[in-house]
């Protein structure tokens, strides 16, 4: 048991969460690196071992998930609005899923966390200090498992997954190139640079995601094992 730590001030009225039993494990990495596949696998593995798992991620809040998806379909969504809409969604997830889950002893597997939000915002011109302040209410995770991949590996995966280049993941709102591919390269390069910078700042555990899925999964399990054995 331990006390829940926050990056800055806890969310209002949650100052006295008290002791928690659960663990918060974040899987981070760029779009298309294979986070979702790995998390689904981890969840099954943990459940087989008898742990209760809550899987969560961006735009999955009851409050704002739908609103963000709708807003992203239009062409009037400004950058600051986008950042804060995501922060709203994330706060609802923190208060509605993560904190209650941790208190009840769940293992929370978070598909992306404040780091993705920070990377995207900074790449879009936000003051790095400001966006960190905004997310100050987030609980500090027990581990951040960073699936690291280079640009070429990412391009390959994006095409092979069948999803291909999409508007937001190519940073087309920034128009960083003449077409989706050019913009994708530039946008993802900048996002990866932000992840690398945060890797030191926040002590990510880096997992080489250029390798086959099974090997990556082995490393993820080993990392989680270490988190769970830490009392």
């Amino acid at each position: 048991m331990k006390r829940l730590q926050f990056f800055a001030d806890p969310p209002a009225n949650l100052e006295n969460v008290g002791e928690i039993r659960g663990k918060l494990v974040v899987v981070e990495g760029p779009d298309g690196v294979g986070r979702s596949t790995q998390i689904a696998e981890l969840k099954r593995w943990l459940e087989r071992r008898g742990s209760a798992v809550i899987e969560t991620g961006f735009t999955r809040s009851t409050l704002a998930g739908k609103g963000i998806k709708l807003a992203k379909q239009g062409h009037t969504l400004g950058s600051i609005t986008l950042f804060l809409y995501y922060a709203t969604d994330f706060a609802d997830i923190v208060e509605g899923q993560i904190i209650p889950g941790l208190r009840s002893g769940y293992i929370i597997l978070a598909d992306r966390y404040i780091y993705s939000a920070i990377a995207r915002a900074v790449v879009r011109g936000a003051d790095p200090e400001w966006i960190r302040e905004v997310y100050g209410f987030a609980p500090v995770p027990d581990a951040v498992l960073y699936l690291k991949i280079g640009l070429n590996g990412l391009i390959e995966r994006t095409i092979n997954s069948g999803k291909g280049f999409n508007y937001w993941e190519s940073g087309m709102d920034l128009r960083l190139g003449n077409d989706m591919f050019d913009s994708f390269k530039e946008y993802q390069t900048r996002v990866l640079a932000q992840f690398d910078r945060m890797s030191e700042e926040y002590g990510f555990q880096t997992i080489d995601a250029e390798r086959p899925v099974d090997e990556v999964a082995d490393d993820l399990r080993a990392a989680i094992d270490r988190v769970l054995t830490l009392a």
Binding site: A64, G78, E95, W130
Partner: protein
Amino acid sequence: MGGVMPLNGLTDQRYPGRLFCVEGIDGSGKSTQIALLHEWLRDEGYAVKFSEWNSSPLVKSTTSRGKKKQLLTPTTFSLIHATDFADRTEHEIIPYLKAGAIVLCDRYAFTAFARDVARGVSPRWVRQLYRFAAAPTVAFYFRVPLDVALDRIVMGRPDLKYYEAGLDIGLSPDPLESFKLFQARIVDEYERMVDEFELTVMDATKTIEEQQRQMRSIVKKFLPRRRRLGAGKPEPKPELRHERPEIKSEQKSA
């Protein structure tokens, strides 16, 4: 003025337009005053843009869903209103200030600072959250005794809404009682901000005509000389601060 709140880190340009906002608790008469100001400025030949609190088309459905289903906590309440404000800043405020227009806002970031802190949100955090906001040329605060405002409100609107009455923070199970206690907290926050943000205090117990006369004479001092667009220049900040009425302290929030 154009320019941004002293705390801002995202945009620090000054814009040729002017930004006037009205603040105060419900029933202080601020909306009436800004509507009169709006008409007057238009008649005087200025290009005017009006923006109202909590009105972004992108965010509205989420906010009303959150309120209807009572999904909002103090933190998400704060964030969704900041999102709404961000959309209006990006679409209704900054572009018009850049164009040299007069932007009028019924409620501004100070509403969030008052309400959210009254709900228990960290004062420091919510001020950081709004750092992207353009700084107003003049922020009018309509000061009114609580019972006067309550009379005006309760007369016009018998059933108080859940969040409006502050029922979410459990000050009292009785909506009217809760509303009173909540409004009192909000008033405390506004009073604290008078010095912090150099709010221009209006005596909201005076007649509508008197208040409007006063508002116009204050606003007049800050209007660009030329009414046609494209001629405005950013206003130098130091002069502005000396001309500003009701300065109580030189201290800026940091």
